[in-house]
């Protein structure tokens, strides 16, 4: 498998803590963490009636396009993206080249505050993700591979997933 992210309990809690602190510090409506393929890793805040997977897949697409535009224009990646609207605005920031931190906010706060607090959060998240990636690499080297959560999976299990479809 080319890429896999195994998120253990402690790491997941650490990410949640950073997101919660960021939400409080900048009075945001919603904070989310996604990977660059658009998969949701974690979120905190007002997510009722919100389709988070679609939000993250669309923002990942927009962000990837933004990175490429930066490369075309100046040879450097644009690592942040701002989208401002009347009811809600969105600030995105790249985390360690593989992940995206997103903050949804409204008029209760300011873009300046969001950017300031995000800078600190990005550093904290980068440390956490460095630890996660190190752990995966060490497991690969020490044990000759990662422990699959599905060592006993059978053909029958997979068939059952689809039921009558």
């Amino acid at each position: 498998m080319d890429q896999i992210l195994l998120l253990y309990e402690n790491d997941y809690k650490s990410i949640k803590t950073v997101l919660n602190e960021l939400k409080e510090a900048c009075r945001a409506r919603l904070i989310f963490m996604a990977d660059q393929s658009g998969q949701v890793i974690s979120s905190v805040g007002e997510i009722t009636n919100l389709d988070l997977p679609t939000l993250t897949s669309l923002t990942a697409g927009a962000f990837a396009a933004n990175l490429r535009v930066g490369e075309i224009l100046g040879g450097e990646k644009f690592i942040t993206l701002t989208s401002e609207g009347g009811m809600a605005s969105l600030q995105l920031s790249l985390v360690r080249d593989r992940f995206i931190l997103g903050v949804v906010f409204d008029t209760r706060t300011t873009l300046g505050l969001i950017r300031l607090k995000m800078t600190k959060a990005v550093k904290q998240l980068e440390e956490i993700f460095d630890g996660i990636i190190d752990k995966i690499e060490k497991e690969k080297q020490t044990f000759g591979g990662m422990e699959s959560p599905f060592p006993e999976i059978t053909e029958e299990d997979i068939d059952k997933l689809f039921g009558d479809l």
Binding site: Y12, G61, I153, L165
Partner: protein, 197 residues
């Protein structure tokens, strides 16, 4: 990228429908959406052009139920098939875990199929995704049309690495779930055999 969350007990991965313009990628997704119970599917998101062809991508999240107590979730995407949307196609391939190549069986689309496979392999290479190790299925769509080439001819021209080939008429749902199921099996088998890779 396969994402395993041990605390929330979830496994998520990304499958992309690739192929030339109008080969039936969005039709596959439309059919899946129409047959899934509401509780297991997310909304179908599409960003079409004025001519109603896919511009950026179509997207649908889908829950498949549980394996070993883990929720299995898929994100299904299509790419825009038209040649001039190459940049969009490349962006969407990022982090892909499985690819379904939807080929148009009609004789006058053979070259477009071949060009699209070439484009796919080139884009995968740019992301350093190993095509030889990727979960990959070839779907031969539009088998009901009189202009469809014989299956052996298409296999000879389009099969890349001995991947499974599935006949389909996506507009009628024929072969749609069979293709998806086989792709999911391939991805899950790779997750199963993580140890030792």
């Amino acid at each position: 990228m396969v994402f395993v969350n041990y605390l929330e007990k979830s496994l998520e991965f990304k499958i992309i429908y690739y192929g030339p313009g109008l080969s039936g990628k969005t039709t596959n997704l439309d059919y899946i959406y129409s047959k899934l119970p509401e509780a297991t599917r997310g909304p179908f998101t599409t960003i079409p052009t004025q001519s109603e062809r896919t511009l950026f991508f179509d997207f649908m999240p889908m829950g498949l139920g549980k394996i070993n107590d883990y929720d299995v979730k898929l994100s299904l995407y299509t790419v825009p098939g038209q040649v001039f949307y190459s940049a969009s196609r490349k962006l969407i391939l990022k982090g892909v875990d499985g690819v379904i190549f939807v080929a148009d069986s009609q004789s006058d689309r053979l070259d477009a199929n071949i060009e699209s496979i070439r484009d796919l392999k080139e884009n995968l290479l740019d992301y350093k995704i190993d095509f030889a190790n990727l979960a990959y299925i070839l779907q031969l769509n539009k088998r009901d049309l009189a202009t469809a080439l014989p299956v052996p001819v298409l296999i000879k021209e389009l099969q890349q690495k001995g991947e499974p080939v599935i006949d389909a008429v996506a507009s009628q749902g024929v072969g749609v779930f069979k293709t998806l199921k086989m792709t999911v099996k391939f991805v899950l088998q790779k997750v199963k055999s993580l140890k030792g890779e």
